[in-house]
Symmetry: C2
């Protein structure tokens, strides 16, 4: 608990109107997409980097926990104040696009800018910011950087870390640092931006982000392939990409997911199919897209596709994508509680991963609809618990999840392709990292944050 004296001091730093310890604010900032709840002792809206610096210096002196928060849309509890303390929210003031530099194709933004707002702003100028997490409509770029957000377009365009050129940040002691440059090449000093990305707000508070932009591809075409089995679809994924095709996206839905969407929306989906793959190509020339689409069709058919359909219009493209876009909300027909994980493996291991998930699903008697970004090996596996209030059912679900994590790691994959560790995956860190590796993580945390004030209790640190 923060006593009245601390609250007063904090109000002096950011102004009365930007520091709250009333119940309403505590409730509004106590949750994220995990639906866990941890109330903070105060919610603060810093006006500027200088505010952040003074806040951190104060908290460091008084050993007060401080948790930076984007939109609270994370799936692993990264922004939850599990030990109380202060939630630092950027949406009120530090939410500005500071610069779109067309000459150098770079954007400079504050952490509270919503991903989609930047996408739209740069597209209006013929530029392109590729990372598009499913939360793009509300998640912030500060959160995206802190979790190293991915998205649908990662197969061709990579993820958030591939676009961060420079950061400004405040260290727990209040020091303001810059990391990186508005240049493609910069090898002076340690790559601090590199380690702040994906550090889940545990090392420093990001106050400004410089992002690389591309020029916007003029053309885009979608296509869908229907496969008899999940294995045939997974083989098609990696063989298509190994043939030199670089689709923007290569998404899949398994049979359970297809059935779920169909039962909810009656779209005439192939409910007997083992899987469908939905893919997008982009480019600036029709010939370029045609060439790649022909190669995709060839590889899909070589690997057993029952049908292959190219969208002839924007409308048809939307139709092809409908099933994928509505996958997540549809699978809830299989259970009230969804344990949603985002394991990732090298693409060639996808067939085996899906086989193993299937075996685990049978062994534990749980349904595990899968869909996701197979173009980069990223599978959203959903362990469905029929009654989430039944601790026994929940326990079985968690056991199945642990088995799935083990399978991913055994197949040279990772616990998390997109969502981060936070609190949800912290219990599984030992599956992926050795004690020596965990020691190194802790030494790095200690180097940045010796008093452990910043988003403590996360990542099994």
């Amino acid at each position: 608990m923060l006593d009245a004296q601390h609250i007063q001091a904090l109000k002096e730093i950011v102004g009365e109107e930007n520091c709250f310890d009333d119940k309403a604010h505590k409730l509004a900032y106590c949750y994220d997409a995990t639906r866990n709840r941890y109330e903070p002792d105060a919610v603060i809206f810093p006006r500027c980097e200088e505010d952040v610096s003074r806040l951190l210096a104060y908290c460091n002196t008084h050993k007060i926990t401080i948790v930076p928060r984007g939109a609270g849309s994370g799936f692993t509890g990264g922004s939850l104040p599990v030990n109380g303390g202060i939630v630092l929210a950027f949406e009120k003031h530090m939410n500005k696009i500071l610069e779109i530099d067309m000459e150098n194709m770079v954007a400079r933004v504050q952490p509270g800018v919503v991903n989609k707002r930047l996408q739209e702003a740069v597209e209006a100028m013929g530029l392109f910011y590729p990372p598009d997490p499913a939360s793009e409509e509300y998640s912030t770029l500060g959160g995206n950087v802190s979790e190293n957000a991915g998205g649908m377009r990662a197969a061709k365009y990579g993820i958030t870390k591939d676009y961060v050129m420079a950061l400004r940040a405040v260290l727990p002691n209040g020091d303001i640092i810059r990391a990186g440059k508005k240049t493609i090449k910069d090898v002076a000093g340690y790559n601090i931006a590199g380690i702040l990305i994906a550090s889940e707000g545990t090392l420093a508070v990001i106050t400004e982000i410089t992002l690389k932009l591309l020029s916007k591809p003029k053309l885009r075409q979608s296509a869908m392939g229907v496969f008899p089995t999940i294995e045939s679809a997974m083989n098609a994924v990696y063989k298509t990409m190994a043939a030199g095709v670089t689709p923007v996206a290569m998404e899949f839905l398994d049979n359970l997911t297809i059935r779920a969407v169909e039962s909810k929306f009656s779209k005439g989906l192939p409910v007997e199919a083992g899987a469908i793959l939905i893919t997008d190509m982009d480019g600036n020339l029709p010939e370029e897209i045609e060439l790649q689409m022909a190669k995709i069709e060839e590889k899909f058919k070589e690997n057993g596709a029952l049908s292959f359909k190219k969208a002839a219009s924007e409308e048809e493209a939307k139709d092809l994508w409908f099933a994928r876009r509505n996958a997540s909300q549809s699978v809830t027909i299989y259970g009230k509680k969804k344990l949603n994980e985002d394991i990732t493996v090298p693409r060639s291991k996808l067939p085996e991963l899906l086989q193993r998930i299937n075996a685990i699903s049978e062994r534990y008697g749980v349904k595990t609809p899968c869909f996701g970004h197979t173009g980069d090996g990223n599978v959203h596996v959903n362990v469905m618990v029929e009654d989430g209030s039944d601790p026994k059912q929940l326990e079985i679900g968690h056991q199945a999840i642990e088995e799935i994590f083990k399978a991913a790691v055994e197949l040279e994959g990772t616990l998390s392709g997109e969502h981060g560790i936070g609190i949800s995956k912290a219990p599984f860190m030992h599956l992926a990292f050795t004690p020596e590796e965990m020691n190194l993580f802790r030494a790095i945390k200690q180097a940045f944050d010796p008093n452990n004030i910043l988003n403590n209790g996360k990542m099994a640190l």
Copy 2:
């Protein structure tokens, strides 16, 4: 000095035949491309990761300095044993391409593999490893990762860090760690690979590197534009790229460099030109290349190009590139000692950077031929000292260099786009980093290497 007991212990770890403290070995491993000389006390060729681990554990216990070394081709002294100790050389045993995984388009190599060897091996399989530092014929991938090497193709394809998916490394205490995965997405734990890249061997010894590969573009075309002034050429660079063109390379030579190459090789170069730009496009379709080439020609001419020539054959392309490839060796006609720096600025700042270099050159009465990778804002500026043995002339040269660094930093650029800091640029770190930022670097060094045994005396740490 290492006493006989230590040498004996080291020999027991790696075998008699892999540990040397004779004069010949000390001399052979005492220099790099800076031509500075610092003799090590011993040269060791580890056979495997386990050797590296046992060596580091031993050195950590006895506080013995250990300096990892690639090919010794660095320009900033990164691999020089400035405080003596052990040089760790990988060329004898740890020089193997372990795997080229075509299904996932990934290569796994040991640190001693020469860059070009990997390029050739993957190209024979239709794949492509883009980073191509000028030293590609001899520099090693371990060195490339440690210095985050760039190259000619960075404008389109980025630099070494954009291809490192995972590393294995040994910490100074002997702990073996893995960092990253053979997956595009991986957000579990701190991004240790991100901070090891460009850390110049000061944090850990890299023992295995997993690199992303692309599929090899089928077509390539080169072109050259001749410009009346350096400013017109620099404007053409950034305006071409801001128009959405993504050339593989966009290289320039200034008037002094053109004259130097011409005087040495009599190739009929335009010696009155202010600058020439040489560019390469690649792709899989002739239409794609044509479209982009047309845009380049348009932008070059809009910005004052006197002529524009596309290579009609492989032979003509080689001819266009001749001047650029022989720039570095040719500028020595202006002085025996070349102070060669690799500053980088945002592309739109190139015209002003070149103006400032020109003014500095006049103020100090030194010739400063410039050439380099303008597509990514990277300029190789050469301050020529007529007589390198004259301390007065050398002092003037160093003053000019310091002014040039200041100009680069003022223009939002960096001290080094490719070469790193090592010892050569350590005295200038205060121009680019605040005391707070330097403190953070030191805290990170301390977290990895509390006894400061690994490549100490570098990067102004």
